[in-house]
Amino acid sequence: MKPAAFVYERPSSIAEAVQLLSEADGEAKVLAGGQSLVPLMAFRLVSPSMLVDIGAIAELGDIDSGPDTIRIGAGVTHRRAELALGPVIPLVAVGLRELGHVAIRNVGTVGGSLAHADPASEWGALALALDASISVTGPAGERSVGADRFFLDWMQPDLMPGEIVTGLHIPKPSSMRWGFVEIARRRGDFALAGAAVNLGVADGVIATARVGILGGGVTPLRAHTLEAALTGMDLVGAAEVAEAVDADVDPLDDQHGPARYKRRLARVVCERAIRQAAEAA
């Protein structure tokens, strides 16, 4: 349970980190909070030749609240985001409370979680439900990727060699009804299924719907079919269309249960999250 040897670099700027990653021989990895990477290294599932620790890059640690968007630096810990965003976007705070335990959230970072691209990522589902975009810097400069184009395949984010995630931009919702529900074997474990629901409601009718699913396939994913089914419905009673999520998910068999069980869970978490959104004052 000890990581294999690697070369360690601790740059103090994004530019320096990008340069180190671009010039590295072999397998270089970015170390953010390390709450996923370090256990993978301890199991020797990954053995990078070099770690570029971005923990000392001050510019990644900012939370900027503009008039229309909130920008969370990639180096912001889950715990800081949970506490800072609670009053502004409660969906984020409630979703993050399901992410591991406080000791994990104190160290793990927004950018690390997004770049790790675990299908059970709370940040992934939240970013999808909130129509967020992810900023990335690499040898070719900066670019911004919508959350619904960022998660390409199993643990595979849209990052080119040498690119690092620098921040998450969340549009400030003017008014929203929201729900977040996840089911795990034990508190703090990886979710078997979860749903983040963001509804724009006018006169009791759902005008816009965005639903992010975790544990529903090889990536965090958007439930387009469910979103379409919800749009135009009365908020009260909307939970009854939750089974539309069947067309959106494609869960995998694993040691926790067969795919059909997790398909059923996806329906359950959506139903509960929609009901939560409807019942919130």
Binding site: M1, K2, P3, A4, A5, F6, V7, Y8, R10, L31, G34, Q35, V38, P39, M41, A42, F43, L51, D53, G55, A56, R79, G100, H101, V102, A103, I104, N106, V107, R186, R187, G188
Partner: protein, 155 residues
């Protein structure tokens, strides 16, 4: 190639060179002789190795020592003083909140953070906050009781 580290451990400045792959837990135990931090699973699940880093709980098995550069680390050795037991130790002792003691240092870090945050003495909240620390002896009941008392609730 080793990395040179400067950090504060239990109030004392420490300057040390270590292999980059050294975790904070191994630095504390093997390099500094602070064996009160216990390693159970070494994969971030059991919580036994939990310490305070800049006052916040952290799994020392999931943090590289190199990433603790410049940080302030508090371990179980930093809690008791020569004048006697720390209030957390007293409460755990009074309520029989430990048996073998392996998980106890990790629980202390979690409970100290809760005390410094002023977490409400509510059983559901306490049980949730303690859920990241596993104990195989006690069944948790007495740990919850001790923690509630420390947070100002009725024991």
């Amino acid at each position: 190639m080793k990395v040179d580290l400067e950090l504060t451990v239990n109030g004392e400045a420490v300057g040390i060179s270590a292999d980059p792959r050294t975790t904070l837990a191994d630095l504390l135990r093997d390099h500094l002789g602070l064996t009160g931090t216990h390693l159970g699973c070494e994969q971030g699940v059991c919580g036994s190795c939990t310490v305070l880093v800049d006052g916040h709980s952290a799994r020392s098995c999931l943090m590289l020592a190199a990433a603790a550069q410049g940080r302030e680390v508090t371990t179980i050795e930093g809690m008791a003083s020569e004048s006697g037991l720390h209030p957390v130790q007293e409460a755990f002792s009074r309520h029989h909140a430990l048996q073998c003691g392996f998980c106890t240092p990790g629980f202390f870090a979690t409970v100290l953070e809760m005390m410094s945050e002023g977490v409400l003495a509510d059983e559901a909240i306490v049980r949730e906050r303690l859920s990241g620390n596993l104990c195989r002896c006690t069944g948790y009941h007495n740990i919850v009781t001790a923690t509630l008392e420390l947070l100002g609730g009725r024991p």
